[in-house]
């Protein structure tokens, strides 16, 4: 495809016909130009269609951000129709009205942000709670999982495969499956109502081991063999050869774990009794019911870290996801 585009372009750039009997070559040039144009058109049309599709995918982000810049009163008018309490549904004022989706604020204001960040101290406390849970989970999972993945991918030991099968199976289980026993274990260890009850299971989740192992499988064994022959210890190989080669995998894992634990809802609700200890995810589910006027700004702040991290490390994330599943 590429190869016939080039001569066509060259022919268009050089209009003077080299040979006098121009009839046939000219027809060919026109044909080529038409074909190129058609190809260009198809490419543009396909891109446009995909842009249309991606707009739907990004719609919630856009809605959250634009609405976060509206004043509380404007939100109240737009979303008046969604009443909190369903007994009002037959209220004639509500019955015929629907949510008014508005993209451009009448007046851009950061009042919502001011309210959320400055006036409501609770929000910042919850944000901090989330950070306090998520950061140790990411750090812990990266450390623990990369060590274990090294063993699974590059060392041989008895029971390796059955053990790994157990990891895969637990990775598939929904949280509710081990809910009760987990609760009892946490109770026995005295972890209830502490962040450890959430952080520790998060650190030891099987997903990290799985993802990183997939990644390490692609490291040519010859590297390890050569390093061993030079007398390097496994710890040295792990830290100096394998970890640097796994950077995209580690980045992808960090992002995926971050997103997952930033969104934890079931775990904090069950393991933490004190309202003040709850993370932002739980708190937000409460304010979106009560004060819709600030919910958009709260959500915007809440999703900013995950979106920024994703945009920042987008290449690593994609590469990490890809390498975990492909390459044969």
């Amino acid at each position: 495809m590429q190869s016939n585009a080039k001569p066509a372009a060259a022919a268009a750039d050089a209009p003077r016909p080299k040979r006098p009997p121009a009839n046939r070559p000219q027809a060919a040039v026109v044909k080529r130009a038409v074909r190129k144009l058609a190809k260009e058109a198809r490419k543009t049309a396909l891109t446009a269609a995909l842009i249309g599709l991606v707009t739907i995918f990004l719609f919630p982000i856009a809605l959250t951000v634009t609405n976060s810049l509206m004043a509380e009163s404007e939100i109240a008018i737009n979303f008046f129709a969604i009443s909190e309490d369903k007994s009002n549904a037959s209220d004639p004022r509500i019955a015929g009205t629907y949510v008014h989706l508005k993209w451009i604020p009448d007046r851009v204001t950061i009042a919502q942000y001011y309210e959320v960040l400055v006036k409501k101290q609770q929000f910042l406390i919850m944000f901090w709670n989330s950070v306090r849970m998520v950061v140790p989970i990411i750090a812990g999972q990266l450390a623990v999982a990369s060590l274990a993945a090294y063993a699974f991918a590059l060392l041989r030991f008895p029971m390796r495969e059955p053990l790994f099968f157990a990891y895969i199976v637990t990775m598939l289980m929904p949280f509710q499956v081990t809910l009760v026993p987990n609760f009892i274990v946490a109770d026995k260890l005295g972890l209830l109502n502490t962040y450890s009850a959430i952080i520790l299971p998060g650190v030891f989740g099987a997903f990290g081991v799985f993802l990183l192992r997939q990644f390490m499988m692609y490291i040519p064994y010859a590297y390890i063999e050569a390093a061993r022959a030079d007398g390097a210890s496994h710890l040295h190989i792990f830290a100096r050869i394998v970890l640097p080669m796994c950077k995209p995998g580690l980045a992808a894992l960090a992002i995926l774990v971050f997103v997952d634990s930033w969104n934890m809802i079931e775990q904090p609700l069950i393991f933490l009794h004190d309202a003040i200890k709850q993370p932002l995810s739980v708190y937000l589910s409460v304010i979106s019911e009560g004060a819709r006027g600030i919910a958009f700004a709260a959500c915007a702040i809440y999703m900013a870290p995950t979106l920024l991290v994703m945009l920042y490390a987008e290449q690593h994330l994609i590469e990490g996801i890809q390498l975990s599943g492909i390459k044969g």
Partner: protein, 325 residues
């Protein structure tokens, strides 16, 4: 081409050759001097592996294996405290329970509908993105973005869209159609399917895209010289060589299909419309009502089904990969 399961459970010999050497050849040629070196290497390997695994394994045991064992034990006794052994009675009770049966059915139905849909859509999307287009990288990120949108934001937009007085009903109203109660009718099922697809299609698309880009273009060239049409090429080359990727995607899709519970729970609470009342709701509610017997036996049954599923997958993929060669 390595298959998914071979990558997960490679034969020993494959492993030693490394991923680079395993393509197409069952046995990589032995390297001179390798055998001697390997023996020395193997001496401490079990011990080293134990050290590397220790942190993970300890935590894994405390927070996953032991709870699982304890859970199984609870499912066999009649009370968590000083209970006496009742054998499979909890299971019999559970299977006779109408609510459980419906929850299980709905979970099965949801997985059976949403996972294939997810795979088909993400494959289609990946194939479109794999064609000649502008700004592929940006589009790819755009489709992946829903993965990182937090639950709370999803719930907020969900309410705005699907509420009785929400935007969608507003549109219907403008078209002169009767508004629907999306979350309180059978439509709720499809709403959840859509949210699941919206959130997870991007992830699978990235996986498929990599799989597509990994198929050597020569295969297509050879096939078109042999006179194979586009569809035939797609069926015999694309689909066949995507099989390992597809298995991986399948597993991830199932994991993600369980995770949609979070959103459903946040929007519709503990007792949503029946068609979206899943096993997770059931277990969650059994936990709230302290019915540990029902919860643990339901959990164990679900685990058995998942293990069986993974096992069957494993078998199927092995036989398919054998036919690819």
């Amino acid at each position: 081409m390595n298959t998914f399961w071979q990558r997960i459970f490679p034969a020993r010999r494959d492993r030693i050759g490394g991923a680079a050497g395993s393509e197409g050849k069952a046995q990589p040629p032995p390297r001179p001097g390798a055998a001697r070196r390997r023996i020395r290497l193997r001496l401490g390997e079990g011990g080293t592996a134990a050290l590397f695994l220790l942190p993970s394994l300890a935590g894994f045991a405390v927070f996953f294996l032991v709870p699982f064992g304890v859970g199984f034990y609870y499912s066999l006794v009649d009370s968590p405290i000083d209970g006496s052994f009742v054998g499979l009675r909890n299971y019999a009770d559970l299977l006779a329970n109408e609510v459980f049966r419906r929850a299980a059915l709905h979970t099965l139905l949801f997985t059976a509908v949403s996972v294939p849909l997810n795979m088909a859509l993400s494959l289609a999307l990946a194939m479109l993105l794999n064609r000649n287009i502008y700004g592929r990288n940006w589009l790819r990120v755009g489709f992946l973005a829903p993965l990182v949108i937090p639950v709370a934001s999803v719930v907020l937009v969900w309410q705005v869209m699907f509420d009785l007085n929400g935007t969608i009903n507003g549109w219907l109203h403008r078209l002169g159609r009767a508004p629907q109660d999306w979350m309180e009718s059978g439509a709720a099922f499809w709403v959840v399917v859509i949210v699941y697809l919206w959130k997870n299609v991007g992830y699978n698309m990235v996986l498929f895209l990599a799989g597509l880009q990994n198929i050597p273009p020569e295969y297509y060239e050879a096939a078109s010289i042999d006179g194979a049409g586009k569809f035939r090429q797609w069926r015999t080359i694309t689909l066949t060589y995507l099989t390992p990727t597809a298995f991986f995607v399948f597993i991830m899709s199932i994991i993600h299909s369980f995770k949609v519970f979070r959103e459903t729970y946040m929007i519709a609470g503990e007792y949503p419309q029946e068609r979206i009342y899943m096993l997770q709701h059931y277990m969650n509610n059994m936990f709230q009502s302290l019915d540990y017997q029902k919860l643990t036996s339901a959990a164990f049954l679900m685990a058995v089904v998942i293990v069986a599923l993974v096992f069957v997958l494993f078998r199927v993929e092995r036989s398919i990969s054998k036919s690819i060669g």
